[in-house]
């Protein structure tokens, strides 16, 4: 276990006393800046989210070593929402109302974000969300540092269509909102590019699905129709290991039927013997194998922090790296951690990413990212085979969905609206008036 600076029993007590109004107001000047970390450390999502907690703690440590922020030290406040969605809302409330943190880094699953969203909006907090997601959302209080579908799914499909010559598509996903939305967008996109109904197969499986025999066999049959076939996988979490094992055993070779995954990164591959999977693809905005000095520095710091020579980095970690630096930059710019001022200051802030370029915060609270396609190697890393020539700006509202193609998001004054309908000329929801 990584030594963490956050065993907080005494501090927790102090904090609750503080909230009870015992503390003297004179202390306020020297108070550290509190950074809330809202990632599951137990339950099903601990596998993915624990490293993100460690990442933020590492970033905080580094920032403190460099003198903190605005002359104040940073302090991590870690809670465990335990992969329990209502608990996410409760813990977010605890962080904002009780601990009075200045910013929250957290969440992985869409449902946990949806659960936290009303709380952050009500208590006017700041949330940095680091995972690729389905889009269709833009909150005044949330900053999306992961990829929107146009920063991951669409470029990946373009690559397969144009560079690999794929004509037949299997869209396989876990049955929840991210795969559903992504597949809806992809289906519309593919049909727009002349792919027929018969050449698209859509398949949904439950969470943690472990018996893939039938589905893999179906994919195999689907792929033997004389057209180049590819699988676009939005299969989530634990279900991937048995899925890839079954692929290997039923002899589905990347040269015949490549699988491009949107939820499988280096972290997930540490649990898989990748030798049979060489050549299958993933689309992300960062790979650990990116050959830049900033990336190697980040990896070295991470290895040192975890004390594990084999420790891997992944895309959501980079997203936190970017998000954290953007927030720090915005705080510096605003000269305060006051949420409203940071929120305004952060738009347009641009910080280096780990792939040798810059990430900028857009007015819709999404960021610009390069899109990389990587092939799995036998050492559990990805070899980058293609990348977009420049960065792509995240699109909160997909152009390929009926309900959202007329919506835009711009949180700058005077529009200040997350879902402005350009046809009706009005701010759609009841939120921002």
């Amino acid at each position: 276990m990584i030594p963490s600076s956050t065993y907080r029993s005494p501090r927790w007590l102090a904090a609750s006393l503080l909230s009870l109004g015992v503390a003297a107001p004179a202390m306020a000047q020297e108070d550290p800046i509190k950074v809330g970390i809202l990632h599951s450390l137990s339950g099903t999502m601990a596998i993915s989210e624990t490293v993100l907690k460690d990442t933020v703690e590492m970033l905080i440590e580094q920032q403190n070593a460099n003198g903190g922020l605005l002359g104040r030290q940073l302090e991590a406040v870690v809670v465990d929402p335990a992969s329990d969605w209502p608990l996410f809302a409760e813990k977010a409330r605890e962080l904002l109302a009780q601990e009075e943190v200045d910013v929250i880094f957290g969440n992985w699953t869409s449902v946990s974000r949806k659960s936290v969203l009303p709380v952050v909006e009500e208590l006017n907090g700041l949330l940095f969300y680091p995972v690729q997601y389905e889009g269709e959302e833009s909150s005044e209080n949330v900053f999306y540092t992961g990829a929107a579908p146009n920063q991951q799914a669409i470029p990946a499909v373009n690559y397969l269509m144009n560079e690999v010559g794929v004509e037949r598509w299997v869209l396989a996903g876990t049955d929840y909102v991210y795969p559903r939305t992504t597949n809806k967008i992809l289906e519309a996109y593919l049909k727009g590019h002349g792919v027929g109904d018969a050449d698209i197969m859509i398949n949904y499986t439950p969470f943690g699905h472990s018996d893939w025999q039938n589905i893999v066999s179906e994919i195999k049959a689907f792929g033997s129709e004389g057209k180049k076939t590819a699988v676009v996988s939005t299969i989530n979490g634990d279900a991937n290991v048995p899925f890839y094992r079954e692929l290997g055993n039923q002899g589905i070779d990347a040269a015949d039927i490549p699988v491009v995954a949107f939820s499988v990164g280096e972290q997930e591959l540490t649990g898989i013997d990748t030798a049979p999977l060489v050549g299958h693809l993933a689309a992300w905005n960062y790979f650990m194998s990116v050959d830049t000095d900033t990336n190697y520095d980040f990896i070295d710091a991470w290895i040192e922090y975890t004390g594990d020579d084999m420790a891997v980095t992944n895309d959501p970690m980079e997203a936190h790296y970017i998000g954290f630096n953007m927030w720090a930059e915005a705080v510096r710019k605003a000269g305060t951690t006051e949420v409203d001022e940071v929120k305004d200051a952060i738009i347009g802030v641009s910080v280096p990413n780990l792939t040798g370029g810059y990430a900028a915060m857009m007015p819709n609270h999404h960021i610009t990212k390069p899109v990389l396609i990587g092939e799995i190697q036998d050492n559990g890393q990805f070899s980058i085979v293609w990348e977009t020539p420049s960065t792509v700006a995240g699109d909160a509202w997909s152009d390929y969905l009926e309900g959202s193609k007329d919506l835009i998001s711009d949180w700058r004054a005077p529009l200040s609206c997350g879902n402005y309908n350009v046809v009706k000329g009005s701010c759609g929801g009841g939120e921002a008036q």
């Binding site: 055993n249 190697y296 290895i303």
Partner: protein, 532 residues
């Protein structure tokens, strides 16, 4: 995918058994050959590979293999080409690509990998496959010939024809003939359909499907007819395959449930930590593979007794530490063991890691056993199926033929009477619980070959395990076997028709309704013990 000219030339070289060029250490040539490989884009890499092949350099094959494995790299500073021997961790051991000189370890920061993509990988693979067509090992030749299906083009026809005539093995000959026929089919020759009709191979089916969409009505018709025949056979195979899938899923359920059938069915302990005992078995497999690097197979075999032992010891600890205080309060065991399961999960997260661990599948368990070209049985699942049956048979033997089994049955049926007869009931309790836990450990060892090895492993199977035991009839090992296998088959038969989610729901509804019909499961326990 077509084989580019360069590779064809290599083929020609090999097929016609040209003498290899004199082996000379041409430092400069090698360096420039590799340099051109590095500088090029994917599209140009074909040309660079061509240059390598044309050079006839004796090291070409090694280079190409290293390139295929992503091991060919360039030292950034010196521009020297190296082959990486082991590419995990921060620093990698490397040798010089040209001289083979050992260069010690280099940081990954200093190296630049020469990347390839899937299409280049495919080309390289078929080059190597063709080389394999000339080896003595029949198995390798068959493999190579199968790989060539759908890859044959004009330049290869003549040499392959020669090889076909010289080929002694009927299977290789058949495959080569099919490969050539696919090529002719692509040229639009209707006669080729006859050679291909009846083959269940996916590439053949693919080629025929393409032909069936052709503009030539005669060709389309012939291909259509051949396809219809193939599909007929495939349907039968598909049925058999589904049955196999079902039995395989069933065997996993049986393995997961059979230990529970002992602790829960025989002893009446509602052991919510059963899943975590399986998890311990799976982690033992991982630990064994860490202890014996490079020998995953041996480690797996040793993990079988080790996994049993670890889980059994954990079981004894649970029995002594918790369950012995809850005699006669079976429902409270649920509470206490649920606590134990939380502790064990967190223990693994804290001590080992919250991340999944990699358990390697040994060579002999990878891939599949080909019954015919339309039906292959995946080997890992076949082994698990066999293993499940062995465990079951072993358990039956213990319960029916050993003194322990006799005592267990005696204590279960009438504890007081058994004690009066001189059976040490406490000892029997410990042994029974250890046995059930050990079997859970065995299940974990098997599951490590199928699914994630992580802290959540147990949680994923506990509900299913209870379902199987109850469906089969508590206290009846045969019931557990039949229940597990039949639920597996029902699930897999429903799945293609209803989808994975709905299939699972339907199975659950089926269990609920079945219990209405037979309130004590498939094989109800008879007699007084049933009331207990």
């Amino acid at each position: 995918m077509k084989i580019p000219p360069c590779l064809r030339r290599l083929l020609a070289l090999c097929l016609l058994a040209c003498l290899p060029l004199t082996a000379q250490a041409q430092e400069d040539d090698g360096q420039s050959l590799l340099a051109s490989l590095d500088a090029a884009s994917y599209a140009q890499m074909g040309g660079a590979i061509e240059a390598i092949v044309d050079s006839g350099d004796p090291r070409s094959r090694d280079w190409l293999e290293a390139l295929l494995g992503g091991k060919l790299q360039r030292h950034k500073e010196s521009g020297r080409f190296v082959v990486v021997l082991e590419n995990r961790g921060r620093n990698w051991p490397v040798v010089d690509a040209l001289t083979g000189e050992d260069l010690g370890e280099m940081s990954r920061r200093e190296l630049d990998r020469i990347g390839i993509n899937n299409s280049l990988r495919g080309q390289l693979q078929s080059v190597l496959a063709v080389l394999d067509l000339r080896v003595d090992d029949v198995g390798a030749r068959r493999e190579a010939a199968r790989d060539l299906l759908g890859q044959v083009d004009e330049a290869m026809v003549a040499p392959l024809q020669d090889l076909l005539e010289a080929e002694g093995d009927a299977e290789v000959a058949r495959l080569l003939a099919q490969g050539l026929a696919i090529h002719r089919l692509e040229q639009g020759q209707v006669a080729a359909v006859d050679v291909l009709a009846g083959s269940l191979n996916g590439e053949v089916r693919s080629a025929l499907s393409s032909a069936a969409r052709s503009d030539d009505p005669a060709l389309a018709e012939a291909a259509e007819a051949a396809l219809a025949g193939i599909d007929q056979k495939l349907r039968l195979n598909r049925g058999l395959e589904t049955l196999y899938f079902g039995l395989s899923l069933g065997s996993v359920l049986v393995l997961a449930a059979i230990g529970l059938a002992i602790t829960f069915g025989v002893m009446g302990v509602i052991n919510m930590a059963h899943g975590e005992l399986m998890m311990l078995g799976a982690y033992t497999t991982w630990a064994m593979q860490q202890l014996l690097p490079g020998q995953p197979g041996l480690a797996l075999l040793l993990a079988i007794p080790a996994g049993f032992l670890v889980a059994a010891l954990a079981g004894i600890a649970i029995e002594r530490g918790v369950i012995q205080f809850l005699k006669g309060r079976p429902l409270e065991t649920l509470l206490a063991t649920f606590g134990v399961s939380l502790i064990l999960q967190q223990l693994v997260r804290t001590v080992i890691s919250p991340l999944n661990r990699t358990v390697v599948t040994p060579e002999w368990m990878s891939g599949s056993l080909m019954i015919n070209e339309g039906l292959s049985l995946t080997l890992n699942r076949l082994y698990v199926l066999g293993f499940a049956m062995l465990v079951f048979a072993g358990l039956m033997l213990v319960m029916r033929r050993t003194r322990l089994g006799l005592e267990v049955r005696a204590v279960t049926q009438n504890r007081a009477m058994a004690r009066a007869m001189g059976i040490r009931a406490t000892r029997v309790d410990i042994m029974t619980f250890a046995l059930g836990s050990g079997v859970a450990g065995l299940a974990g060892v098997a599951l490590s070959q199928l699914t994630n090895v992580g802290p959540n492993l147990g949680q994923n199977y506990i509900i299913d395990s209870f379902m199987v035991v109850v469906f089969g009839g508590v206290g009846n090992l045969w019931g557990t076997l039949v229940a597990g296998l039949s639920l597996g088959v029902i699930n897999q038969v429903l799945e293609p028709w209803a989808g994975a989610v709905l299939a699972k729901i339907l199975v659950l509804v089926f269990i609920i309704l079945f219990i209405q019909k037979r309130p004590r499961g498939l094989f109800p326990q008879k007699g007084r013990a049933a009331e207990g």
